[in-house]
C-alpha cells in the first residue's frame, strides 16, 4: 500500500533549514508566519510570486515543493489534452483548417516524446 503524495513539502524543507515560519515569512516578504503555516497545511495556495520566492529560498523546483498538487494538475492537463486530441482527430476539414489541425496533432505527438521538466 502506498500513500498518496502530500500536497506540499514546504514543512519538510523549512524544518530541514531550521527556520521558523516567522523567519520564512520575513524572507518571502510576507507580513506574518501565519500565512506560511496556511501554505504548509495546504489551506491556502501561495501566489505565483511567493511560490517563486519559495523555490529560490529552498532551491527546490515548485513542482517538487508542491508535488501532490503538481501531480493533480498534470493529470488534469493530460486528461484535457486527450479530449482535445480526440476532438481534433474527429474533425474532417479541408484546406487551411485541415493543415492547422494536422499541425496541432503533430505537436501533440511530439509533445508526448518530450520528457516533462522535473
Amino acid at each position: 500500500m502506498t500513500s498518496q503524495s502530500a500536497g506540499n513539502y514546504l514543512r519538510t524543507h523549512r524544518k530541514r533549514s531550521g527556520l521558523s515560519q516567522h523567519e520564512v515569512a520575513g524572507v518571502l516578504g510576507i507580513d506574518n508566519g501565519g500565512m506560511v503555516c496556511r501554505y504548509e497545511l495546504g489551506r491556502h495556495l501561495p501566489p505565483l510570486l511567493v511560490a517563486l520566492a519559495l523555490e529560490a529560498l529552498f532551491r527546490v523546483p515548485i513542482s517538487q515543493l508542491f508535488r501532490g498538487l503538481g501531480e493533480t494538475v498534470e493529470q488534469s492537463v493530460e486528461d484535457r489534452l486527450l479530449s482535445l486530441e480526440t476532438e481534433l482527430q474527429s474533425r474532417s476539414g479541408k484546406g487551411p483548417q485541415a493543415a492547422i489541425t494536422a499541425k496541432k496533432l503533430q505537436w501533440l505527438t511530439e509533445r508526448r516524446n518530450v520528457k516533462p521538466v522535473a
Binding site: 502506498t2 500513500s3 498518496q4 502530500a6 513539502y9 514543512r11 524544518k15 530541514r16 495546504g42
Partner: protein, 173 residues
C-alpha cells in the same frame, strides 16, 4: 538495506503520558517531518486534546500506517492515560482508514540489539546517522543523575518508524 514496504508513508509516534514524539517517514530513508506534541489539557478531556494534537498530523501527512511505540506492558497496564491515548488514536486511525501498528519498546530494542545498538543512546545515534536532519538534536549521553532530554522522544519515534520497515530476513534495520 532490505525493506519491503517501498515508499510507504509512516507516522511513527513515541507515546508518553504527557507528550508524544513523532516522525513522518516516506520509505526508509526520507524523513518528512518530526517533532514533539504535548497533550496539555487545552481543549478539555484527554481524548479531545489527543485527537486534536495528533490527528492533525494524520490530516497533514496522510500516512498509510501509524506506528505507535508503547512503553512496557507493565507500564501500559498501570498508566490509564496511555490506555486512553491508544484508544483515541485507534479510533482516529480507523476513521481515516489508516493501518495501526503497535510496537513495544522491547521489540524495537531487540531489532536494534542485533546490530550491537542495545542502549537508547546508541539507537538514537544510529537514527542521527541515518537522518542527518535529526543529528543536531541528538542529546549527549545521559548521566545517571540526569533526566531524559526533551528531544529523545523524537529519536525513539524514529527508531519505531525504522523498526516498522524491518523484516526478519533483513540483515540491518
Amino acid at each position: 538495506m532490505v525493506h519491503d514496504k517501498g515508499q510507504e508513508r509512516v507516522l511513527a509516534l513515541d507515546l508518553r503520558s504527557g507528550r508524544a514524539g513523532f516522525v513522518v517517514l516516506e520509505g526508509l530513508d526520507k524523513l518528512l517531518d518530526w517533532g514533539v506534541r504535548s497533550y496539555t489539557p487545552r481543549y478539555g478531556p484527554l481524548e479531545v486534546t489527543v485527537s486534536r494534537r495528533i490527528a492533525s498530523l494524520l490530516g497533514l501527512h496522510q500516512p498509510s500506517v501509524m506506528v505507535l511505540r508503547l512503553p512496557s506492558n507493565r507500564l501500559v497496564k498501570k498508566n490509564d492515560r496511555i490506555r486512553v491515548i491508544v484508544r483515541t488514536l485507534r479510533k482516529e486511525a480507523k476513521r481515516r482508514s489508516v493501518s495501526l501498528r503497535l510496537l513495544r519498546r522491547q521489540r524495537i530494542k531487540k531489532i536494534f540489539s542485533a546490530q550491537g545498538r542495545a542502549t537508547k543512546h546508541q539507537i538514537a545515534s544510529l537514527m542521527a546517522e541515518r537522518f542527518s536532519d535529526l543529528a543536531w538534536k541528538l542529546p549527549p549521553k545521559r548521566k545517571l543523575w540526569q533526566s531524559e532530554n526533551y528531544h529523545m522522544t523524537v529519536f525513539d519515534a524514529a527508531a519505531a518508524g525504522v523498526a516498522h520497515f524491518w523484516r526478519p530476513d533483513a540483515q540491518k534495520p
